[in-house]
C-alpha cells in the first residue's frame, strides 16, 4: 500500500485486453483456458451430448471405456460421458450462485459490523465465531438435515447451504478489512468533513475492500464445487438422477472394481474445474497484490 511503485495497470487502451493477457501471470492464463473449456462444455453440452441425461440402454452396463463411451456405461445402462456433460451447468450454477449469495450476505454483515463497532459488532462476531467453530461440512450436513425432507435434493437448498456456510467466514474477513481501513487518515478526513456513515462506506470503505472481497469470492468459488460434490457424495445434496458430479462418483463407486472409468470420468471433470478455478484465483491474487490461501480450514 505504501510503496511508490509506478503503476502499470490503470490506463487501458482499446487493445488493452491483449496486452493484459500477455502480461498476466501464467497461472491466470492456464486457469482461464481451463475455465473457458468448462464453460463452453457446460453451455453447449446439452446440445451435442450423444445421449440424454437419464437415457438407459446406451450400451452394455459396465462395459468400460471405448471410443463411443469414453467414460463407460453405468449400472443402469446410461452413458456416463453424456451425463457428465449434462451436469456441467448444474455444478457451476450451484457453486456460483451459492458463493455469490454468501458473499453479499457476508460482506454486508461484516462491513456494517466493522463500521458500527460497539456491542452490535460484539454480538455479531461472537455468533460468527460460534458458527465457524462447527467444522464446515458438519455444519452443512446439520443444516441440510434441519431443512427437512420437503426441501432435500432441491437446488435451492444446496445454494442456501453453501451461502450459509460461506457467509460467516466472509463476514469475518470483510469486518477485519473494514477495521483496517476505518483507522486510515482519509476516513478520518471524511468524518471531519461531516460525511454520513453511508457516504463513508460507499466512497471510502467499499472501493478499498473490493480487491480483498474479489479474491475471497474467487477462493470460495473454487471450493464451492467441492462442497456441492461432497454433499452430493454423502447423500445430503442433489438427488438421483441429477447428473451432479459428486453424486455420480458416489453412485458409481460401487462399480469401482468392475469399471473404474465411470468414477474417474466425473472425477476428472470435477478436479479440472476446481484446479482451473484455483489457478485463476492465484493469478488474480497476484495481479491484485494479495496473498491467498487456496483450500479451506
Amino acid at each position: 500500500m505504501t510503496t511508490v511503485t509506478p503503476s502499470q495497470a490503470p490506463v487501458t487502451p482499446p487493445s488493452g485486453l491483449a496486452r493484459f493477457w500477455r502480461r498476466a501471470p501464467s497461472s491466470l492464463r492456464v486457469g482461464a483456458i481451463i475455465l473457458a473449456i468448462h464453460v463452453v462444455v457446460a453451455v453447449t453440452g446439452p446440445l451435442w451430448a450423444p445421449y440424454g441425461v437419464a437415457q438407459m440402454g446406451a450400451g452394455i452396463p459396465l462395459s468400460g471405456a471405448s471410443l463411443a463411451h469414453p467414460f463407460g456405461i453405468d449400472q443402469l445402462g446410461r452413458d456416463v460421458f453424456s451425463r457428465v456433460v449434462h451436469g456441467g451447468h448444474i455444478v457451476m450454477l450451484l457453486a456460483l450462485s451459492g458463493t455469490l449469495l454468501g458473499l453479499v450476505i457476508g460482506a454486508v454483515i461484516g462491513l456494517l459490523s466493522g463500521y458500527l463497532r460497539g456491542w452490535i459488532d460484539e454480538v455479531i462476531m461472537r455468533l460468527v465465531e460460534a458458527m465457524i467453530s462447527i467444522p464446515f461440512l458438519v455444519l452443512g450436513l446439520l443444516a441440510v438435515s434441519a431443512a427437512g425432507p420437503e426441501l432435500s435434493g432441491s437446488p435451492l437448498l444446496v445454494i442456501m447451504v453453501v451461502a450459509f456456510l460461506y457467509a460467516p467466514r466472509i463476514a469475518r474477513l470483510a469486518r477485519s478489512a473494514a477495521l483496517e481501513i476505518v483507522t486510515k487518515d482519509f476516513v478520518t478526513i471524511a468524518r471531519l468533513r461531516g460525511e454520513s456513515p453511508w457516504s463513508v462506506v460507499r466512497r471510502e470503505l467499499l472501493p478499498n475492500t473490493t480487491s480483498v472481497l474479489l479474491v475471497e469470492f474467487a477462493v470460495r468459488t473454487g471450493y464451492a464445487p467441492v462442497l456441492v460434490g461432497s454433499l452430493g457424495f454423502l447423500g445430503f445434496g442433489m438427488r438421483p438422477p441429477t447428473p451432479e458430479w459428486g453424486l455420480m462418483i458416489s453412485e458409481n463407486r460401487t462399480l469401482l472394481l468392475a469399471s473404474p472409468v465411470t468414477v474417474l470420468g466425473p472425477g476428472l471433470m470435477l478436479a479440472s474445474l476446481v484446479v482451473g478455478l484455483n489457478l485463476f484465483t492465484e493469478g488474480l491474487a497476484r495481479i491484485l497484490g494479495r496473498t491467498v490461501q487456496i483450500g479451506q480450514r
Binding site: I134, P135, S145, G148, S250, V274, V275
Partner: protein, 316 residues
C-alpha cells in the same frame, strides 16, 4: 503473570464460544423435522403411549428449559441415550473415538514429513523450477475433494494393485497388521490433504523468515549458512508451523467424516453421518458438539502455543 492472564482470557473466550455453539446445535436439532416420540415407538403407536413417552422425555417442556437440562447433564459427563439403539451414547462413542484417534495418529505421522520437507525445499529453491513444480503439484492436490482423492487412491491401490482392502472394516478381533492395512488408505488421504495445505502456507512463511532483516544480520555476523538456519530461522518458523498444524487438527475433525464414510471405517465421523441420517437427536447433539469442542480446542492450543513460543507476546 501477564502470560497467565492472557491465557486465561483466551480460555474464557473459547468457553463462551463453546456455549454459543451448544445453543446453535440445540436450536438446529430442535427444528429437525419429525416427532421424536413417534419415531421411537414407530408408526402404529397409540396416542396414549406417545403422550407417556413425551412426558418421560420432557418433550412438552419449553425449549430453553430442555436446553438447560441438556447442558446440566452434559456437565456431569453424561451424554444421554441414543434414540435409535437405546444405548448410552458414552458407550457407543468410546470404540468409535478410539478408532478415529488411531486413524488421526497415522495421518499425523505421515503429515509432518510430508509438509516440512517440500516446504523447506521450496523455500530454499525459491523461484526455481523445483519450487514451481511443487507449487503446481500441491495446487492440484489441494483442489481435489477428499472423497475424490480417497476414491483415486482406491482405484490405484485396491482396484489395480490390490494391496489394501476396499472396506476398512475393523473390530475388537482385528489383528494389529490388518488394522494397519485398514487405516493405511484413509490415513494417507487425510495426511496428504493436511500436508498439501500446510506446504503452501509454510513455504510463504519460511520465505518471509528467510527474508527477514535479522537473518541477513546473522549472515553479516559471519555465521555459517547452517548455523543461520538452525539458530536464527528455525525458532521463528516454529510459530507458523504450529499455527498451520492447529488449523489442520481443526480440519481433521471435519475431514474424518467424509474419509471414514468412503472407506466405511467405523470411526467417529461415520457415526456422525449415521446419526444425521437416522435423525437421532441426542447422538447428533453429542457428536457435533464434540467436533466443535475439538475445533475450538485446537485453535486454543495454537493461540496459547504462539504466546508461549513468542517472547514478544510472552513478556509484552
Amino acid at each position: 503473570m501477564t502470560v497467565l492472564r492472557l491465557i486465561a482470557g483466551r480460555v474464557l473466550v473459547s468457553l463462551l464460544t463453546l456455549l454459543l455453539v451448544s445453543m446453535l446445535i440445540f436450536a438446529f436439532v430442535e427444528i429437525l423435522p419429525g416427532d421424536v416420540a413417534s419415531r421411537i415407538l414407530g408408526r402404529d403407536a397409540t396416542e396414549a403411549s406417545l403422550a407417556v413417552l413425551r412426558e418421560r422425555l420432557h418433550l412438552n417442556d419449553p425449549a430453553p428449559e430442555r436446553y438447560v437440562r441438556w447442558l446440566g447433564t452434559l456437565l456431569t459427563g453424561d451424554l444421554g441415550t441414543a434414540l435409535t439403539s437405546a444405548r448410552p451414547i458414552n458407550e457407543i462413542l468410546a470404540p468409535r473415538i478410539t478408532n478415529t484417534l488411531l486413524l488421526s495418529a497415522f495421518a499425523l505421522a505421515i503429515y509432518f514429513p510430508l509438509c516440512l520437507i517440500p516446504a523447506a525445499l521450496q523455500a530454499l529453491n525459491r523461484d526455481r523450477s523445483l519450487d514451481h513444480a511443487l507449487s503446481v503439484v500441491t495446487l492440484i492436490i489441494v483442489s481435489l475433494p477428499e472423497f475424490l482423492l480417497a476414491t483415486l487412491l482406491m482405484v490405484v491401490f485396491v482396484a489395480w494393485a490390490g494391496l489394501f482392502p476396499a472396506m476398512s472394516v475393523v473390530d475388537d478381533t482385528t489383528s494389529f497388521w490388518d488394522y494397519l492395512r485398514a487405516i493405511a488408505l484413509p490415513g494417507t488421504t487425510l495426511g496428504v490433504v493436511m500436508a498439501v495445505y500446510a506446504v503452501r502456507m509454510l513455504r510463504d512463511n519460511l520465505i518471509e523468515v528467510l527474508d527477514a532483516d535479522y537473518i541477513r544480520m546473522a549472515e553479516f555476523k559471519g555465521l555459517s549458512r547452517w548455523r543461520v538456519m538452525i539458530r536464527h530461522a528455525l525458532p521463528n518458523a516454529l510459530v507458523p508451523t504450529l499455527n498451520v498444524t492447529a488449523l489442520n487438527l481443526a480440519y481433521l475433525v471435519g475431514g474424518v467424516v467424509v474419509v471414514e464414510k468412503v472407506f466405511a471405517f467405523p470411526g467417529f465421523g461415520s457415526l456422525l453421518i449415521d446419526a444425521l441420517q437416522l435423525r437421532d437427536a441426542p447422538l447428533i447433539e453429542s457428536t457435533v458438539l464434540i467436533t466443535a469442542t475439538v475445533y475450538i480446542g485446537a485453535n486454543l492450543v495454537a493461540d496459547v502455543g504462539a504466546v508461549l513460543l513468542n517472547p514478544r507476546l510472552r513478556t509484552g
